[in-house]
């Protein structure tokens, strides 16, 4: 590493010609005023070498380097340095600062050189604005205590309620350092023939917070299922609608049933809507309406109680947040996180409405749909903080992650009618998709560095078929492209988790194989793409 040396101070101007004295001063003899304007001799004042070190420098298992030094190479006319850089190309070289963990003491030592003027060299220390005024220390060797913003953790923790769960958590992911500016300066005067001078040197000291944080998620499996079906004929209509949903897991059960039946002729109509909460009866709602055999009747019943939602409680308990081993979970209100999970589940279950709309276009064929979904099941442990890299003057983003988390697992079973190649057809089958992250990794500044990224596509399965009415028949050319698509991406330093999950468009090439006419082959879209979920979770 070389830097351009500081320029020598500009030589003072030649004194103006001597003035003639009206008092009869002898010629060519300077007067007292002129004598004062003669150049004053500047004593040599400069240093050859400047060293920065912290408490850990040279301490085994702490920092292998003794110091970061800068020295003047007169031969080359350059400032040289012994800074070492990470072999990991993703770690940018740090040349302008010395990085330490709070609290620390920085030793600054100027040495060599022709000597100093009185009061030189001078070390100017400019801490961050919140950490005090600028100080000037005189002399070649100094030890300066540096620190990070005091009470930074509690100040930010106080914001959590105001800014919400996710933003509140995010502010603890690798906050920026407190930057101190150190400037060591001398006159830069050197005796001839030395042409180059060190003069002054400005270097930063970046101080990072010492805390190691850890978040944990351990979410039990909660699989929710919704089913709906509709079957019947038009005209002398017989119709049979059923709908049900159930939620299992976390030792709580929820069930919802809806039935509708209409029969032609004497017109019997029967409807029932039933919703049962969990097994402890905390939430229950029942509603019934009906008209049978010409006699109308109706009844409505509502029962409800305000028992706590077991799923929400379990979700809330599943999150932990520690700082240096101490639990601070209670400072986070998990409501936003719970709401996020519930919304995600709701969005996927919304697929049933999406398919219903398709199925209702061909009511003669009837439809049946079932969507099963599981979101955020499994565990995640992520530990992070700053650590000094033992091999040089830098600090790296330490992380350790262990994850076995199913972000989304969805299964959709479908059967509905549509018009395909100008004829009625039934689309049927099932598709599954699962976005799952399973790995463990720890930061290694020599290799993986802070830019660790894990990205996984969903694992998908299932198949979709099409059948036409008996007679002429429909053949699928190749495969119907249908199913789930997306990706989950986890950045590890700093932590971020992004995911998107969509229902891919149902597309295929179909041949209507005719027994008597021309067979026709065309591409058709059974359904358009249905975006389900895309967001940065953390």
């Amino acid at each position: 590493m070389t830097q351009r040396p500081a320029p020598r101070p500009a030589p003072r101007k030649t004194p103006p010609p001597a003035l003639k004295s009206k008092a009869g001063q002898p010629a060519n003899a300077p007067c007292a005023t002129c004598q004062k304007q003669q150049p004053r001799k500047v004593p040599p004042c400069d240093f050859d070498k400047l060293e920065f070190s912290c408490k850990h420098c040279g301490v085994p298992d702490k920092r292998e380097i003794a110091s970061v030094a800068f020295w003047l190479d007169q031969g080359r006319g350059k400032i040289m340095t012994n800074q070492k850089h990470s072999p990991n190309k993703r770690n940018p070289a740090v040349t302008d600062r010395f990085e330490v963990i709070d609290p620390d003491t920085i030793k600054v030592k100027a040495s060599g050189g022709p000597g100093y003027s009185p009061g030189h060299p001078a070390l100017t220390i400019q801490p961050p604005m919140s950490l005090g005024p600028v100080k000037v220390l005189r002399g070649p060797v100094h030890e300066v205590a540096v620190s990070y913003e005091p009470n930074w953790f509690k100040n930010r923790l106080a914001n959590v309620t105001r800014i919400g769960f996710f933003a509140g958590l995010r502010q603890f992911f690798f906050p920026p350092p407190a930057v101190w500016v150190f400037t060591m300066a001398a006159c830069g005067a050197r005796p001839a023939p030395q042409r180059k001078a060190f003069y002054s040197w400005k270097h930063k000291v970046a101080v990072y917070p010492p805390d190691i944080f850890k978040i944990g998620l351990s979410l039990p499996s909660v699989r929710k299922r919704e089913k709906a079906s509709s079957w019947g004929k038009e005209g002398k209509v017989r119709y049979d609608n059923t709908s049900s949903s159930d939620t299992r897991g976390l030792a709580r059960t929820s069930q919802s049933t809806k039935e509708e039946m209409r029969t032609s002729g004497n017109t019997e109509l029967y409807r029932r809507t039933e919703s049962v909460g969990n097994k402890h009866g905390t939430v229950t709602q029942t509603q019934q309406l009906g008209t049978i055999r010409g006699r109308d009747y109706s009844s409505d019943k509502y029962e409800a109680s305000d028992a706590p939602d077991g799923r929400a409680l379990a979700t809330a308990k599943s999150f932990t947040f520690t700082r240096n081993g101490k639990d601070w979970t209670q400072s986070f209100k998990a409501a936003e996180f719970i709401e996020f999970l519930m919304n995600l589940r709701k969005q996927i279950l919304g697929l049933i409405e999406f398919f219903k709309a398709l199925g209702n276009k061909m009511p003669k064929i009837g439809w049946t749909f079932s969507v099963e979904v599981e979101v955020f099941a499994g565990s995640l442990e992520y530990e992070w903080g700053y650590k000094e890299w033992p091999k040089n003057h830098t600090v790296y983003k330490y992380y350790k992650v262990e994850v076995a988390l199913t972000l989304v697992s969805a299964k959709a079973e479908i059967a509905f009618g549509l018009e395909l190649l100008s004829a009625k057809a039934q689309v049927y089958g099932a598709v599954t998709g699962e976005l799952k992250l399973t790995f463990s990794r720890e930061a290694n500044p020599d290799r993986t560095g802070p830019a660790g990224t894990v990205s996984v596509p969903p694992s998908v399965g299932g198949e979709i078929g099409v059948r036409g009415a008996l007679g002429d028949w429909v053949e699928v050319v190749g495969k119907i492209n249908a199913g789930f698509e997306g990706a989950a991406t986890m950045e590890l330093g700093p932590f971020s988790l992004k995911a998107n999950f969509d229902l891919a468009p149902g597309k295929g090439t179909f041949t209507a194989k005719s027994k008597l006419f021309f067979s026709v082959t065309k591409q058709a879209t059974l359904w358009e793409k249905r975006p389900i979920w895309a967001r940065t979770i953390l």
Binding site: R467, L470, K515, L516
Partner: protein, 265 residues
């Protein structure tokens, strides 16, 4: 054979992991890809005969085992014979199979020698006798092949010139035998074909792929009584583009009846 007016015999085919061809009485019905699941319900009444019948599958290739099993799309080979109401959709899973064949080797079974033929037989009561059953047995010698290519060329010319009456005259037996099976009269079927052609060739935007004799493969089937011409890549030889940009095709099965070639299916 039982063919009431309102019902039709069909196969419920569900195959994944096998490239195969399905036959009814040695007439090819469909071919499946090795790398994609295949499900279809082709109607086959016109290939069933009174007395002894056979449904067969010829396996030409087997897909390697999947890295992870997909329970919703398993490896399978199922062909079931069913009967259902003509013109109606039988929802998946509600087929009423009469009989069928399934190929499900155990995981530790040795790999079979390919092609592998699997078949089963069944009897049907007496019914009509189809023209192809009594057609002359063919051998694809040079003279017969040349004659067949000339017949194909005539069909191709009918399509190029849009001569639907000419085309219909060569499909007389097919329309006579199949129209009643599929709920039509021969006359209404002919009218239907004409109407479809009018739509497909609207504004004259109708193209027919050239007939290349070197690309035509003649497949003898039904004990040599029927010939199915296909291209080398198993496409119908009579095909082209319709006015709406979609592809049309006219698969044909040819027999020699009373000394003349006729389209029988």
């Amino acid at each position: 054979m039982t063919i009431p007016v309102s019902t039709v015999d069909y196969l419920n085919v569900s195959i994944h992991g096998y490239a195969c061809e399905v036959f009814v009485n040695r007439a090819p019905i469909l071919r499946t890809p090795v790398d994609a699941p295949y499900t279809a319900i082709p109607s086959v009444s016109e290939w069933l005969v009174g007395g002894d019948n056979e449904i067969a599958v010829r396996i030409d290739a087997i897909a390697p085992p999947a890295a992870t099993a997909d329970p919703l799309s398993p490896r399978r080979l199922i062909v079931q014979r069913c009967v259902g109401p003509l013109g109606e959709i039988v929802p998946a899973g509600e087929d009423q199979p009469i009989d069928g064949l399934t190929y499900a080797p155990a995981p530790d079974d040795p790999t079979p020698t390919l092609p592998l033929r699997i078949a089963y037989e069944f009897r049907l009561p007496q019914g009509p006798t189809w023209a192809w059953q009594t057609a002359a047995r063919l051998s694809l010698d040079a003279a017969t092949t040349a004659e067949l290519l000339m017949f194909l060329d005539a069909l191709h010319a009918d399509l190029v010139f849009g001569d639907i009456p000419g085309l219909l005259s060569r499909q007389r037996i097919k329309f006579a035998e199949l129209a009643p099976l599929y709920g039509m009269t021969p006359a209404s079927a002919r009218a239907g074909l004409l109407q479809q052609f009018t739509e497909l060739s609207k504004d004259g935007a109708w193209t027919v792929e050239p007939l290349r004799p070197d690309d035509v493969v003649l497949h003898l089937c039904c004990d040599g009584r029927v010939v199915e011409p296909r291209t080398r890549d198993d496409r119908p030889v009579l095909r082209g583009q319709a006015a709406d940009g979609n592809a049309w095709s006219l698969p044909v099965f040819i027999s020699r009846v009373d000394g003349m070639f006729e389209v029988v299916r």
